[in-house]
């Protein structure tokens, strides 16, 4: 099948491939340029006219940047917030998704609508309410507030996706385990969750990446430099008179590459969790 297709490398096919690669290049281009900027010297960045490629490849930028900006702090904050939010989402969405897949109850529809609301209302639209609430709990400038908010706004993806996985697992398998003397929680832990593992991994990665990239809430409620996550911390470069673009883009490369790799790993499940709210 494949070999016959490969043989037919017609003119039309060549056009398709060329167009596809050109488009791929277009979407990659800013990130390639980001990388090329990150290895230039500061003088070269401000030289006029500029050049397409670095004249000197200054790899040292990736070492020097740690001394020239509180990147380590930003990275630490981003990791703390994203990992904690991911754990919280799992703790909350696993039981909810399981229950939705297995049981019908009154107000189920209302609950589904509320879950959908977390996906549809971005933090940006509610930011003043959020700010006042966080202030009310005395949690301004705290990780805890960011963790809870990031978890809440990314709940829907995990619930839709995991509920889909759980309902694909026949309840009989679990019931058999119950007869064998397992408790319901044991049956869940030993049988259902391992089968739903791809869904769990996808939920973990999606939540982590979403929290990693979150900007508006962090911008609004975090004020100390040492608590700023990467996207907010890095904007500090922009306001400066002499912007250190090379360090800025070395930092963004460090921030972007891992999450792109993670997203590629869950590529085939991404759409399901984002659009499933409509078919439930």
């Amino acid at each position: 099948m494949k070999s016959t297709k490969a043989k037919k490398l017609t003119g039309k096919k060549v056009v398709t491939i060329s167009v596809a690669y050109l488009i791929a290049w277009f979407f990659l281009y800013p990130y390639i340029h980001m990388f090329l900027t990150s290895v230039r010297t500061h003088e070269e960045l401000y030289a006029y006219p500029t050049t397409h490629f670095p004249q000197v490849w200054q790899w040292r930028n990736y070492l020097d940047l740690w001394d020239n900006a509180p990147i380590a702090n930003y990275l630490k904050s981003s990791l703390i917030i994203s990992i904690s939010a991911t754990i919280l989402v799992l703790l909350v969405s696993l039981p909810a998704a399981y229950f939705l897949a297995r049981y019908r109850f009154r107000f189920r529809g209302v609950f589904l609508l509320l879950v959908l609301a977390t996906q549809m209302f971005s933090p940006t639209a509610l930011i003043i309410g959020i700010f006042r609430e966080v202030d009310f709990f005395n949690l301004l400038d705290s990780y805890l507030a960011l963790i809870i908010l990031n978890a809440g706004f990314n709940l829907a993806f995990s619930i839709w996706l995991l509920a889909g996985f759980f309902s694909s697992i026949p309840a009989e398998i679990e019931e058999a385990a119950l007869i064998d003397g397992c408790s319901r929680v044991q049956a869940l832990r030993k049988i259902t969750i391992p089968v739903a593992l791809p869904g769990v991994v996808t939920a973990i990665i999606f939540t982590f990446v979403a929290a990693w990239n979150e900007f508006t809430i962090a911008l609004t409620i975090i004020s100390s430099v040492d608590k700023k996550p990467l996207p907010v911390g890095l904007t500090q470069f922009i306001g400066q008179y002499d912007i250190a673009w090379e360090y800025l883009f070395a930092s963004t490369i460090i921030a972007i590459i891992p999450v792109v790799v993670l997203f590629i790993a869950i590529e085939k499940y991404l759409v399901g969790g984002l659009t499933a709210g409509s078919v439930k």
Binding site: T16, V19, A20, I23, A24, W25, F27, P30, Y31, Y48, P49, T50, T51, L91, P95, A96, R102, Y103, R104, L114, V115, L116, A117, T118, F121, S122, T124, A125, I127, I128, G129, F131, E133, G152, W160, S167, S168, P170, A171, E172, V209, N213, F215, T216, L219, T220, P231, T235, F249, T252, I256, V259, V260, I264, V271, T275, A276, S278, V279, K280
Partner: protein, 305 residues
Amino acid sequence: MKSASTKRKSSVATHDVSVASALPWIGPALLLIILVVIWPVVELVRISFTDITIAGSLLDFHGFANYRELLANPDLYPVARRTLLWVFGIVFFTVILSLPLAQLINQNFPGRKYVRWALIFPWAASVVMTSMIWTWILDAYSGEFNLTLTQLGLIDEPVDWVNNPGSSFYVLMAVAVFVSIPFTTYVLLAGLQSIPNDIVEAASVDGASHWQTYRQIKFPLLRNALLIATIINLINVFNSFPIIWIMTRGGPGYETDTTTTFAYKLAFIESNMGQSTALGVFNFIVILLIVSLYLKLTKATRTEL
């Protein structure tokens, strides 16, 4: 989408249970939703009707005064008009460009996997960081865009694309289209993949051209995916904040603001909580309307199918 709906049908044992026995399972999720969505909404609406001071302490019922003040603010109207252009322009171009792109990456060709991976970049990367690199690429003197245009002989003088009033807002819109295409294309791709191959093959056996097959068979079957992609985009683009905030701050003045960034500016830069919350409530209602449209339309297509 296809997988989700077939999975649902195959789910075997679903039992009816009481709300009380549901609470241990869905209670934590419910609490989280109340904290992050319900509370902020109630708080937003509540303070939009109060006379709030900058410190945020005094709360006297103020009726519709904030709303009247907002409507009397002459800056609101150009911002509102621009928001319409922002939302419909970006969603239109995103969908129009994603349709052929989804069709393209649904075909079999060597290296297709890598083309799809390339498309993941703007989706996975922080929008803040993507906006930063576009700012740099489009920089008047140091940007590669002007360098290329100069070398091609298309411009003589450096053009400040991001800050030039003639181009500024369109540049922001283009960046928004750039970051919206990957998600949209993937949703449409999933829609294309859910179309059974035999239908398409039957059509080509019957002598339908590629274009006829696409228009008469694939496109109608794609309608649901298209609807979902369009409406999620409407919401995301309306809520979009980082691109404008990073590239122009909505400036100069309010020249590149949308209602979303304008509301943020009013609250956190100008300490005008009253007008900002009134606008926040308005923004909230807009999203509510789009969401109800979404629910209504997806339900309609569902019963139809």
